[in-house]
Structures are given as C-alpha cells and as structure tokens.
C-alpha cells in the first residue's frame, strides 16, 4: 500500500508551517502503517514559480522526502515526490506508475516544463 500526500497551497507563513507539520505527521503515520509514500506536488512550486511561500513549502517537502529516504524505514520501503505540471491530473492509485522499482528519495518531474531549469 502507498500513502499519497497531495501538496496543499499555503499562501502565508502560518500555512507553510502548518502544512509541513501535517506532512511530517502523515509520513510518520505511513511508516507506522508500513506503507510507502508518494508526495504529489505542483512542478511549478519546485522553483517557486507561484510564490516564495509555496516554494518554501514544496522545497521543505522535497527535503523531508530525501531525509526520510536516507534513513529508510525498512529494506525496500520507498518515499518519493512526483511533480505534476499544471493541468495534469493523476489519480492517487496511478502516481506510483511514475516511480520505477527501487526508486526512493527522488523527485520525478512529469512533463518538460522544467527542462533547462535548475534540477530541484
């Protein structure tokens, strides 16, 4: 099973803080339930295209994923970020399709929108 965490869209500091704390608790709960994790984020927020607050939030999520993957909950357990371009909707059950076997701690960016930009 996989826990899907969909990024919210905080527009102020309180929202950023609250959303990061919520994600932390969701990840801990997923580990306790022995579920993998995939976070779905707007690709534009990886580089702060929709404002510094959302950039900070999604940047924080990416860091969280990397740190948690670094520790690893158990052998074979995975956590990743799937970054979706605007207008692309992916059902929870299909997000795993973008992440290959054995991939963990990675940011998978769907589409070509960030080609030529700094790799998040």
């Amino acid at each position: 099973m996989t826990t899907v965490i969909r990024a919210s869209e905080p527009d102020d500091l309180t929202g950023v803080r609250s959303a990061l704390l919520t994600a932390f608790e969701q990840v801990k709960a997923a580990i306790a339930a022995d579920e993998d994790v995939v976070m779905a984020v707007p690709a534009a927020d990886l580089l702060g295209h929709r404002g510094p607050e959302r950039g900070a939030y999604v940047g924080g999520l990416v860091g969280m994923v990397r740190a948690v993957a670094f520790e690893g909950a158990r052998p074979g357990w995975v956590i990743n970020v799937v970054a979706l371009p605007e207008g692309v909707e992916v059902a929870d059950g299909d997000l795993d399709l973008y992440v290959g076997a054995g991939v963990t701690g990675q940011v998978v960016t769907v589409g070509t929108g960030l080609l030529g930009k700094v790799a998040p």
């Binding site: 702060g48 404002g51 900070a56």
Partner: protein, 240 residues
C-alpha cells in the same frame, strides 16, 4: 563608496561572526542580531573606524523580536544586505523525532527567516541582496529530517523570493558542508576524521570559506546572480 548596512542574524558566534567580520572588512556597516546577549560584545569587537556596528538581542521566532530588528533597521534608514544565518539543530532518528523536535527546527531555520525578510520588504534599498544560509544537508542527511526539511525549504524560498523580488533585490543561498565549528569539534576524533575523509578537498571547511561565498553573493561581482544556491562543501555534494 558609501558604506552599506548589512544585517546578519545568528551573529553572536560561529559562522555569523566570520560573515560579519568579512563584511565589515569589505566596507559594510553592521547590525548583528542574535537571541544571545553576547551579540553586543561581538558587535563591539568588530567595530572599527568608519564603520557603524550595532546589535539587537531578538528571538526571531517571535513578532516582538522581528519588530525590534525592523525598528533598528529603520533607525539606520534601510538596509542593503540581509544574511539569514541563524539556525539550530535538534537531531534524532525519525522514529525518535516528535512533532515538537520537528516544529522547533522548522520555526527557527525556515519560518523565522521568512518572517524577518518579509517584514523588511519595504526597507531594502534598490540593489540590495539577501543570502539565506541553507546547508549541504538539504540534499539529504541521516537523523536530520527536521533540519533537512528546513534547509531545503529555505532553498525553495530563495528561488521563489528571487523571482518575486527581481530585479530590485537579489536573493541567493549558501549551502555549507562540513565546517569547523563548536559542533564539529564536539565530535569524536575518529568520527570527524571519517567525515573529512569524504571531502574531496581533503580538509574541513573554515568559517571564512563560507564568509567569502556570502561576501561574493552580496557584492557587485554577483549582480547577475539571483535565485541560486552556492554549495561550499569542498566537493562533498558530488563525491561518491
């Protein structure tokens, strides 16, 4: 050349002092910020002829602390450089890290610099520069989910703010790797030696290495650089 005002948070000791010292040497006036009252002594030690150095004791996780800094900046007529350097660690394996450990680090390392920077939005002079102190650990590190989240968040904030404030203010980040500090000196000798062995530069970084990166980013030499992360880690972030 007219001296510019630089505000450095976490300025009482360590990296903050090295950064402040170099900025003073390169002609900046200085406003040091720290919640440690020792910051006043540091400011006094860094003072020199022709430079105004002062300090504010402030907890930047509280509105009153941010307000005190804003007030001090306004008394000086605005600012040209902001270095968001203050930070803490509260390391633990994820299984041992509770929500308070997580929130405390996010509050100091991410939310506080965002709050201060935003509060100063009208006080930056044209051509000003912000440097946010991230970390090589933003790329991932063991036992630091809170710290990595905060420092990676700061990278995202840097990029977003650089876009939002261009062209008036440049915003960049510095990501130090293993740097000689009270924290590194507290490590067992063999552990520290093992970490240094992974650094292609074959030495531990000095605070002055980081200070020079900051000084570059706030200088005219970096006038075409914004939204970037300068990693100062002796090559560790690309090593096997």
């Amino acid at each position: 050349m007219t001296a510019k005002l630089a505000v450095v948070t976490g300025g009482a000791r360590g990296l903050g002092v090295a950064i402040a010292q170099l900025l003073v040497e390169r002609g900046h006036h200085l406003l040091l910020v720290d919640r440690d009252p020792a910051v006043a002594d540091t400011a006094a030690e860094l003072s020199r002829e022709g430079r105004e150095t002062s300090s504010v004791v402030a907890d930047l996780t509280e509105d009153a602390g941010v307000g005190a800094v804003v007030e001090a900046v306004r008394r000086r007529g605005g600012l040209d450089v902001l270095v968001n350097n203050a930070g803490i660690t509260r390391d633990a394996r994820l299984s041992k890290m509770d929500i308070d450990d997580f929130a405390a680090v996010v509050d100091v390392n991410l939310i506080a610099p965002m709050r201060l920077t935003q509060a100063l939005v009208d006080d930056f002079r044209d051509g000003a520069a912000v440097v946010n102190m991230s970390s090589r650990a933003a790329l991932g590190n063991f036992g630091q989910t809170n710290y990595v989240t905060s420092k990676s968040g700061l990278v995202g904030y840097t990029r977003g703010l650089a876009l939002a404030w261009a062209p008036r203010v440049r915003v960049n980040a510095v990501a130090p790797g293993l740097i000689d500090s009270a924290m590194s000196r507290a490590m067992p000798e063999d552990v520290l030696a093992g970490l240094v062995a992974k650094v292609p530069a074959d030495r531990i970084g000095e605070p002055s290495d980081v200070a020079r990166a900051v000084a570059y980013l706030v200088s005219e030499d970096a006038s075409y650089v914004t939204g970037q992360v300068l990693t100062v880690c002796g090559g560790r972030s690309v090593a096997p």
